[in-house]
Every structure is written in C-alpha cells, then in structure tokens.
C-alpha cells in the first residue's frame, strides 16, 4: 500500500524551497547584471544620467579603433599567458619540494601560503614599494651583485612594468596552484610510483613520464583558475602602474574602470569589459570537459575516507 507522502516528507519540494533563495540571489544579482553589462555595451549610457539610448555597435567600433584598447587587450593576453607559464613551472617545482619531508616544513608552508593570504591590493602596494624608482631593493641587490650597471625604472618603462606585473601575478597565484598540484600528487596511487622506481625510472623520468601526465587534469584546474584570476584582475595593475606610463600597461579591467567608472562612460566601459568574456567562456568549456572526463573516469566518487 502506498501512502501519499506528507508535505514534510516531500524531498523535491523541500529541496526546491531550500534552494530558492540562492537561485534568486544568483539570478537577480549575477545573471541580471551580466545581461545588463552586455546591453550597456550597446548603449550610450553615462553614469550621470539614467537615460538610455541604443548605440548599436558604436562603442565597439570606437574601442576597436583605439590603440590604447588594443594595447590593453594585448597586455591582458601577455600578462595572463606569461604569468601562467611561470605559475606552472613554480608550482610543479614547489609541489616536488613539499612532497618531500624536510626540516622546517611547517614554517616553509606558512611562508608559501603568504602570497595567497595577503589581500591583492595590499600585496600590490608592497610590490609598488619594492619596485620604487629611487629606493628599489631589487636595484640595490642587483647592483651589489654586479648584475646591474645602469638603473632599472621598474614601473616607469613599459616593458619592465609589464614584466613587473607578470611577476606579481605569478607570485600571488603560484601558491594556490602548488596546493592544488600537491592534492593531485597525493591522489596518484603509490603503487604506480613504486613500480616505476623498481623499474629503475629516475626522478626526471618519473616527473615527465608518469606524474605530469597523471596530473594533467589537476594542473588544468589550477591553470583555469589562474587564467580567470589574472585576466580579470584589476587590483595589481591599478595599484602598481595605474595603467601607466602613458597608458601602455593597461589591461582590460583597468581600462574598463577608467572609461566606465572614472570617465563615466558606462557604455564604452561595458564594451571593454565584454572582451573578458572569451577568456571566461574558454575556461568554462574547458572545465566542463574536465568535469565530464573525471566523472566518466572515476566511478564511486566520494567514498568516506
């Protein structure tokens, strides 16, 4: 005999009710503004008035003809790719170090996590001081080591400033990538590595032939988050260079902020920010594929440990 379940036992209904506030929040305050961002990019909206006029592709035509925008787009790609390459190298090295046992490991771990814990804006201001044109400790050290004869104006020269930005972005993201890679390393069955050692595979061979291929999905997660964090970051560039010297180091977020918020041209600011979307869509697709692959690959997920 089946009984009609009471209200207090309807899992689907309770589930819907408990989920509703989160869904509403996300749809209204993430989905809504997301759509508005795209609509604004086709409008002449300004911050001062609430009037709204359709502008078609005018904002896009304007920015695509603007060398500052093209430079910002290029910088965003350079900074993202450059910093992520550094991140992969640093994180792979750091994960190898932290897998071993050594004296002072807890302290080393504490120090490793610092860049991630420090708020971006405060880290950026510390780096601004480190790269200071007069007092830069880097210049002092390079000079004393005999590696520098002239003078480096870290934040005053476009190429150097871009390198500084890449260094800071890699610095703040590699601890996160390291921790993720470590989690991945610990999930490689020890029998595989033991078998490899028994077969006489050395450190580099194990690293490149066994560990890195097995780590690919994990590394991919680290890189995908790294791409999102770097490409969409405003704080580092805003504080470090403010887009200068002479608008040469802008990235998309700082330029969108300058035009859209400081310059009050919401339409153009939104159009610039929309160019972040390709980065995000690529990342989202990659993540979905990755999630599907691990779903197929590993049945029986999350057995209690």
């Amino acid at each position: 005999m089946t009984q009609r379940p009471r209200l207090a036992d309807r899992a689907d209904l309770l589930g819907g009710m408990m989920l509703a506030p989160a869904l509403v929040y996300v749809i209204v305050l993430v989905g809504g503004p997301f759509v508005v961002a795209i609509i604004l990019s086709f409008s002449t909206a300004t911050a001062g008035s609430l009037s709204f006029e359709w502008a078609g592709l005018r904002n896009y035509r304007a920015i695509l003809a603007d060398p500052i925008f093209l430079r910002a787009l290029r910088n965003t790609v350079i900074v993202t790719v450059g910093s992520q390459l550094l991140v992969v190298a640093l994180a792979t090295a750091a994960a190898q170090v932290f897998r071993a046992t050594f004296r002072g490991k807890p302290l080393a771990r504490f120090v490793l996590l610092l860049p991630w814990a420090v708020p971006v804006s405060l880290a950026a201001i510390a780096w601004t001081w480190i790269f200071d044109s007069t007092f830069s400790v880097l210049n002092w050290t390079l000079k004393v080591a005999g590696l520098l004869h002239g003078w480096l104006y870290w934040l005053g020269d476009p190429a150097l400033a871009l390198s500084a930005i890449i260094i800071v972005q890699a610095w703040r993201i590699f601890p996160f990538a390291t921790v993720i890679v470590l989690a991945g390393l610990s999930s490689i069955p020890s029998e595989i590595l033991e078998a490899a050692i028994a077969d006489g595979a050395g450190f580099w061979r194990r690293l490149f032939r066994i560990e890195l291929p097995l780590l690919t999905p994990v590394l991919a997660v680290a890189i995908l988050f790294g791409v999102v964090y770097t490409a969409t970051d405003l704080g580092v560039v805003y504080i470090l260079t403010g887009g200068g010297p002479a608008n040469t180091t802008h990235v998309l977020p700082t330029l969108a902020f300058q035009r859209g918020v400081l310059g009050a041209d919401l339409g153009q600011g939104a159009a610039i920010a929309v160019f972040l979307l390709p980065f995000l869509i690529l990342v989202a697709i990659a993540m979905l594929r990755l999630a599907r692959r691990t779903e197929i690959g590993g049945g029986g997920r999350d057995e209690p440990t």
Binding site: L23, A108, V111, L113, A117, I180
Partner: protein, 287 residues
C-alpha cells in the same frame, strides 16, 4: 663515502636550495613589509644607488613611529571596524542562503541538483570586473552609492555560489547513514533537516564562515567602485588608496597596515587551506 651517499646528499642539498629559493620569492614582500614597518625614516629613505647602505637590515634601531602614526593619525581602525561590520553581515547572509542550498543540492534534488550545482558554481567564475559597471547603476538606483550597504548587497554574489558548492561537496563526503537511520526511526524529512542535519554540517559551516571572512578582507574591485568617502572604506581599499596622500607615500605606515592585515589571514589560510581546495578541484582530485 660511496657514490650512492654522494648522490643522496646532493639530492638533499638540491631540495633545501629549491625550498629556500621558493621561500625567498614567496616571503620576500612580507619580509619587506616587516622591515619597512619598523625602520626609522632615515634608514628607510636612502637611495638604492648608495651601495654602502644595506637595505635588507636595520642600520638604525627599530622604531614604533610608523605603527603609532597608523593607529593614531589615520582612519585605519575605522576601516577595520567597517570591514568587520561587512564581514559579519555577509557571513549571516551567506550562511542563511548557501547552507540550505548546498544541503538541498547534495541530499534532496538528485540528478538535476548536480547539474544545477555546477551551474551555480560557474557563476563564481563571472568576475567583478565584468559586473562592476552594471552594479554601479544598480547601486545608484537603490541609493546605496558610497555606503557599506552596497558591499553587503554585492559580496554575497561571490560567496553564495562558492559556499553552496563547498557545502554540497562537503555533504557528499558525509555518509547518508545517520540521516537515513533517523528517518527509519520515524523522523520526517523536515525533522531530519531541522534536527539532525545541522550537527552534520557544522564543520562545513565553519569553512563557509572562514571563506567569507577572507573574501571580504581581500575584495578590492567593488569597494573601489562603490566607496568614495575615506571614512567608509574597508581595509583593503583604504590602505592602498587613502593612506597615499597625493603623491606622498608614507611607506612605513603603509607597510604596517599591510602587515597587520595579512597576519590573521595568513594564520587562517594555514588552518583551512585543505578545505578550500576541496571546493576548487571539483572532484578532479579525490581526497
């Protein structure tokens, strides 16, 4: 000493060298905050072209002058208070919204819950730098410009998706047995949710609280967009923006502020890192 020992020693030396190099790179800006905070101005402001003056060490005795300036003559404590206020309210909102949602996705909604969970997580990837322009309009319409209310409204858009996902993942690792047994014992679903589940989720809630705290401490973009009055700023905005007066950088006080804000966050990260990571790896790593 045979060749095997030599190789072992070389490997250990390589390990320590690599560890040291990474520590120097990761920790250097923090060391720089520390030493700048306590240096006297005449020790601090010596041009780097003077190679006889070593900037890495205290050449004059340390001083508390910058710390005193920071706490006595700037709005730093005000910013700390503002930040904590936002932290508390955003935590309440996040826990109230994300915890039930995470439970629902893990326990009640079955197969489509998993897809929906993924969808909610993806909204976490939509960055503030894409949304700050429309939000500046929303905030203006609601009359919240230049108020902490704007931050309280907007920060949950970051914390709710991530924390819903965290709670969902956390519950998946908690066996269903206890709740099932309670239902066999005659509890209704609702009673299980109200009386049994809270105890099970408690560690997950702690992670949510910690994540929300660190996020609010670190957020910069929205604060920069919405807040213009110095007395309404949060720490991460006030320090880099308002402590710099015109072109005058008070590096001692600036670094003191960065240092004192970073220490609690660094400690928290050390304690909670593993839990955050579970949220990020989305099952690509099985713990």
């Amino acid at each position: 000493m045979n060749r095997r020992d030599a190789r072992r020693i070389a490997r250990r030396a390589g390990l320590y060298a690599a560890a040291l190099g990474l520590m120097v790179f990761a920790g250097f800006p923090f060391y720089w905050m520390l030493i700048t905070t306590f240096k006297q101005n005449r020790d601090l402001y010596v041009g780097a072209f003077d190679t006889s003056h070593v900037p890495w060490i205290f050449n004059d005795p340390p001083t508390l002058e910058h710390v005193r300036l920071l706490f006595g003559q700037t709005d730093f404590l005000r910013w700390v208070a503002n930040t904590l206020l936002v932290v508390v309210v955003v935590i309440v909102i996040t826990v109230a919204v994300a915890v039930p949602a995470g439970y629902s996705l893990a326990r009640l909604t079955g197969r489509w819950g998993e897809r929906l969970g993924m969808g909610i997580f993806f909204t976490y990837l939509i960055p503030p730098t894409l949304l700050f322009i429309p939000f500046s309009r929303v905030v203006a319409l609601l009359g919240l410009q230049n108020s902490l209310g704007a931050l309280i409204l907007v920060y949950p858009t970051i914390t709710i998706p991530f924390c819903t996902w965290l709670i969902m993942g956390f519950l998946r690792s908690v066996p269903w047995d206890i709740e099932e047994q309670a239902m066999i014992d005659g509890y209704s679903r609702l009673a299980v949710i109200l009386r049994v589940a809270p105890r099970l989720i408690l560690p997950g809630i702690l992670t949510v609280v910690v994540f929300t705290f660190t996020l609010v401490m670190q957020e910069f973009v929205y604060a920069l967009t919405f807040i213009s009055s110095v007395d309404r700023m949060t720490v991460s905005l006030g320090v880099p923006i308002a402590l710099v007066r015109g072109d005058v950088y008070h590096w001692g006080s600036l670094m003191a502020a960065a240092l004192f804000t970073s220490i609690p966050l660094a400690i928290i990260y050390n304690l909670f890192i593993d839990r955050f990571i579970q949220g990020f790896t989305m099952g690509a790593v099985k713990g």
